[in-house]
């Protein structure tokens, strides 16, 4: 018995040593203040080494309360900053990050449980238990299919988005400014298959979502806002609130205690109210364009978290420029009638020109769609037409 315990202790120690050693093997994170380095590994933020997508020293992973849907892909998000600088907290907007900040987002899928690895089949699952090498660590490459890693780099003149696509042997990701299209198949636990085109946006399309204001056209990260980050993360040394953690490691200043910071619901948390879940879902999936300054301010439809629940969020609102995207429906949201409403119709489409969001997915997010329909179904009100 003691031997077993001691052995387990050794294994843990060795694992920790290995991880530290791995960091030591990685060159320090390299902030490139101009140009587009040809390989993801040129940045030394995340690197495929020894069967793990390793996070370098100082690279902090994070999650969002409710994430953007991207064809059921799983995502590993990280943040890194040079020594001696930090981001400033904002209760509403993206934190004010210093020059030198590198944010990474790696899109990957777990492999289907029932199949050997192949070039196209990936799992459609919300289960992340096989993704990570260890809590707070990087991804276990034997269990996942890496697709792309997008960097948002805060340079002197502003944020720059740089897309990288993982190579066939999953050893590194290569610069892909014009994006990519990959034919993949989603495999469900029950064996269901769905073919789709996974689309890596081109560099210009990054602004479709990340330019929150289409007059200034400046890019901004979307996720690192208080309401999205205010939740726990399973770090190597235990669970901790992400705002508290970022404060503690010196990446953030000015944040209040988590209880005093805004917090979006987790869209899939059935303990949260339907309204909070739906609004969190619309906020992250639609609010980057459908806000008063964004690309979709041409439509009069706003879907970010601050929008009042009236015509601004689409209740009985006639569409402006939906074209064939109306699906023969008269109003964005008809209270109590999700099947007569344009918003769920467009969420339920995967046709370019009809679907919403306009880019970033090729499949329908069935569970997200069901949530929005349920939210509309319990609304009351009447879009009675005046003559």
């Amino acid at each position: 018995m003691p031997i077993t315990l001691r052995a387990r202790g050794w294994v843990l120690l060795m694992a920790l040593l290995c991880l530290t050693a791995c960091h030591r093997d990685m060159q320090p994170v390299a902030f490139h203040d101009e140009g587009y380095p040809p390989k993801l590994s040129d940045w030394h933020v995340v690197e495929a080494r020894d069967g793990v997508l390793q996070l370098n020293q100082g690279v902090v992973p994070y999650e969002l309360n409710t994430p953007l849907f991207t064809d059921y892909a799983h995502k590993l998000r990280t943040i890194w900053m040079p020594k001696g600088v930090s981001a400033h907290y904002s209760p509403t907007d993206t934190f004010d990050f210093p020059v030198g900040t590198i944010i990474s987002k790696t899109f990957f899928y777990p492999l289907p449980k029932s199949e050997a690895r192949n070039a196209t089949d990936v799992a459609r699952t919300y289960d992340t238990s096989r993704d990570f090498a260890a809590p707070g660590q990087g991804l276990k490459l034997a269990n996942v299919h890496m697709i792309e890693t997008r960097l948002l780099v805060r340079r002197k003149d502003g944020w720059v988005a740089i897309p990288y696509v993982w190579n066939a042997d999953q050893s590194d990701a290569l610069l892909a400014r014009t994006g990519d299209v990959q034919a993949l198949t989603l495999v469900s636990d029950d064996g269901g298959h769905e073919n789709f085109n996974y689309v890596v946006p081109d560099q210009s399309q990054c602004a479709s979502c990340h330019a929150r204001d289409w007059t200034t056209r400046a890019l901004q990260p979307i996720g690192p806002k208080a309401r999205h980050l205010n939740r726990d993360y399973r770090y190597a040394d235990g669970d901790e609130n992400q705002l508290v953690h970022l404060l503690r490691v010196g990446y953030l200043t000015g944040a209040p205690a988590p209880a005093a910071a805004p917090r979006n619901a987790n869209w899939s948390d059935t303990h949260a109210s339907l309204d909070a879940r739906a609004r969190a879902y619309l906020d992250i999936n639609c609010g980057h364009c459908h806000n008063p300054r964004g690309a979709a301010n041409t439509t009069g439809l706003t879907l970010d978290i601050d929008t009042p629940e009236d015509r601004h969020i689409g209740i009985c609102k006639p569409p402006t420029a939906a074209g064939q995207g109306t699906g023969d429906h008269l109003f964005d949201i008809v209270p109590g009638h999700p099947d007569d409403s344009i918003v769920p119709y467009r969420l339920g489409s995967a046709e370019p020109g009809t679907m919403m969001p306009e880019i970033g997915r090729s499949t329908v997010h069935k569970e997200g769609l069901a949530l929005i329909k349920a939210w509309i179904a319990v609304q009351s009100g009447d879009c009675m037409v005046l003559h």
Binding site: V199, A295, G300, C316, P318, G327, D328, F331, H387
Partner: protein, 407 residues
């Protein structure tokens, strides 16, 4: 057992069909596409991207976000960007930039809008053809040429065919010239919406559902006013409405020549308007669209067309076969089975809260007549009295583009 086999076969078939990447794109086309994307990414202010003659099949929507770029083809029938089988949209080309010029090329068969320019100043579209090549279909993309929230815009010498909403649509913009274009087989040929200071002249609008529309929609960033529609040829716009319900233009009856809806200060003169079977000119309020409801429309929205001046047009035919049972019944009741609506049809909604100030009147000269359809009372008491419309309004100044376009 047979059922299972059928199901399996069916699901295989469905799976195969959903592999859209199998639609043909040659190696040449693929490398053209990525080269053009790269050129758009690398463009600097002053860059001219020349696209040689040729027909190119593109799978992915393009976008441009750099000011001062010119995109130029070898001619609207020589350089063709075809998006048939497009897998990523929504547009053919999306532009978010100032000082943008596009000329002498064609964009065909986009899944969504063909060319959208969202927020930008000094926009020139010259000699561009937009076409959905299967003809009018409700699954065609919504808008052909679509500048929105733009300032100082010129759309000229272009052709748009088959848009399931509006062929040429300028929305929420200021200082606009739309001239010498041809709009055919769209739901709306040319539409100016929520825009200020627009001159629309020397265009041909034919075989659309509605030829030239000047609209104001609710809930948007600005209300439109001051549009001059003159010296256009607007004829035979009798194509059945193929917009999906809910779209603003879905309310336009087939056979509409020039339509003003809820917009103010619109001057319609010196046009040749002929053979539009509902009416050569329609003046209407938002009430007639069947979308007006209290919850969904901003309280400060003005649904009435005010200050509309129709004069010196050359009318011929039209009004003889209106679209929809209500209008057919109305026509038969007032003019008989073989009669026709006069040149101008007005739905009859007025802002009853106020005495109509002189400059807010609807003034019609040189037309065969005006029918006040009495929309507020379900067409019960239509009036053919033309006297209330015998008036004139101050004329609008011409639109001057500043700076002048380079083309």
């Amino acid at each position: 057992m047979r059922t299972i086999c059928t199901l399996v076969a069916l699901s295989c078939l469905l799976a195969a069909c959903s592999h859209q990447e199998n639609a043909a794109q040659s190696q040449n086309d693929a490398s053209f596409e990525s080269k053009l994307q790269q050129q758009l990414l690398d463009a600097k202010p002053g860059s001219v991207i020349d696209i040689p003659a040729g027909r190119y099949v593109l799978k992915r929507g393009l976008s441009l976000r750099t000011n001062g770029v010119t995109l130029r083809g070898a001619g609207m029938d020589k350089t063709v960007l075809s998006f048939k089988g497009q897998i990523v949209g929504p547009e053919g080309l999306l532009v978010n930039a100032d000082d943008f010029t596009i000329e002498n090329l064609a964009i065909e068969d986009t899944m969504g809008d063909a060319l959208k320019i969202n927020q930008g100043r000094n926009i020139t579209i010259h000699g561009v053809r937009i076409e959905w090549t299967d003809g009018p279909k409700s699954t065609n993309g919504a808008y052909g040429l679509y500048p929105v929230k733009t300032q100082n815009v010129l759309v000229e010498d272009s052709v748009v065919i088959g848009a399931s909403d509006a062929g040429i649509y300028v929305g929420q913009s200021n200082n606009i010239v739309v001239r010498r274009n041809r709009a055919e087989q769209n739901v709306a040929g040319i539409e100016i919406e929520n825009s200020v200071n627009a001159d629309v002249y020397d265009n041909i609008a034919t075989k659309n559902t509605g030829g030239i529309l000047v609209f104001n929609m609710p809930n948007l960033s600005q209300a439109g006013h001051a549009t001059r529609v003159f010296h256009n040829k607007v004829f035979d716009n009798n194509t059945a409405n193929f917009a999906k319900k809910g779209a603003a233009v879905a309310s336009v009856p087939a056979g509409s020549g020039v339509v003003v809806n809820s917009n103010d200060k619109v001057e319609i003169f010196d046009n040749d308007i002929a053979d539009n079977q509902t009416a050569n000119v329609i003046i209407s309020s938002y009430f007639s669209t069947n979308y007006y409801n209290k919850l969904g429309v901003a309280a400060d929205y003005n649904p009435y067309p005010k200050g509309i001046y129709v004069y010196s047009n050359r009318f011929k035919g039209g009004g003889n076969a209106p679209d929809g049972l209500k209008l057919k019944t109305l026509k038969a009741a007032v003019y008989g089975i073989n009669g026709s609506f006069p040149d101008v049809l007005w739905d009859g909604y007025v802002d009853s809260k106020e005495q109509v100030p002189p400059n807010d009147r609807i003034c019609v000269q040189d037309a065969s007549g005006v029918l006040n359809a009495d929309g507020p009372h379900g067409y019960k008491n239509p009036s053919t009295d033309a006297k209330p419309f015998q008036c004139s309004l101050p004329k609008l100044p011409p639109v001057t583009l500043n700076p002048e376009p380079k083309v």
